[in-house]
């Protein structure tokens, strides 16, 4: 079976449209910098147990594990912009991988276009582990 160029382009458009309209509304990435060496084994913690705060934690001593930086992007111009909740979730995911109890000094960028995305929002925070 061979397709004519017009049929092929129709199929391609149909496939592309279904990808755009369905599932992949956002994609995200994260990185950890200034990772502090730890003597203990890293145990991943549950996502819902990771606390997020925009300030510092002064009532409990803690150890800094590293600085987290995450980015959430929307796939196309037609999808909804990424939100702070999405950034928070990604920050928690990265912190949980490090075995952190909390992320302090959480801060966000502002939504806008970037070279790689029609809508991008980033966030940063410091992963910390409470001293036991």
């Amino acid at each position: 079976m061979s397709l004519k160029p017009t049929q092929l382009s129709r199929y391609l458009i149909a496939v592309a449209s279904s990808v755009l309209v369905s599932g992949c509304a956002t994609w995200s990435s994260g990185e950890v910098t200034n990772v502090r060496p730890t003597s203990h084994e890293v145990k991943q913690v549950l996502l819902e147990r990771v606390l997020l705060t925009d300030g510092d934690i002064s009532d409990r001593p803690y150890t800094v594990l590293g600085d987290i930086s995450v980015t959430v992007n929307k796939t196309t111009l037609f999808h909804a912009d990424p939100t702070k909740e999405m950034v928070n979730k990604k920050l928690k995911e990265e912190a949980a991988k490090l075995g952190a109890d909390a992320v302090t000094h959480v801060r966000y960028g502002t939504v806008g276009i970037s070279m790689m995305s029609w809508g991008r929002l980033d966030g940063k925070g410091r992963a910390v582990q409470f001293k036991r």
Binding site: T110, V111, G119, D122
Partner: protein, 133 residues
């Protein structure tokens, strides 16, 4: 030849959209790690010379609430402009001159950043004073 001209006009329209809609601003860098200091001493040198440093605990709390409210308002306005501009981009892909109606939001983004810096400074001062919630 006509197709090439059409492509280049579409490409120009997309480029114009990039320039006009407004770029994403990255989150500010994290402050230095002061976890080795006692909470009362976790202040930046600029904090002690700021006007907020002379405020009392109740004044600081009121200022934090006002700054957070202003941040929230600015954020909502930014989102409104952003989604409005995106609608104009979508329409502009069919009718390019529509993109000229897009609004800039750089001043508002700078305002948002300044408010965010102020909020963090207030939080540091409150924590160093150990103002009760």
């Amino acid at each position: 030849m006509a197709k090439v001209a059409l492509f280049s006009s579409n490409a120009s329209a997309v480029l114009a959209a990039f320039l006009l809609v407004g770029c994403a601003h990255s989150a500010r860098d994290l402050p230095p790690d002061m976890s080795n200091l006692a909470p009362a001493h976790r202040l930046l040198p600029s904090d002690t010379t700021s006007p907020e440093y002379s405020m009392s605990c109740p004044e600081l709390k009121a200022e934090i609430a006002a700054t957070r409210a202003a941040l929230s308002r600015t954020e909502t306005q930014l989102q409104d402009i952003q989604s409005d501009n995106q609608s104009k981009v979508i329409v502009g892909l069919i009718f390019a001159p529509f993109m000229l109606a897009m609004e800039g939001n750089e001043t508002m983004k700078t305002q948002y950043r300044d408010l965010d810096i102020k909020r963090e400074r207030l939080l540091r001062i409150v924590q160093s004073r150990q103002c009760l919630p």
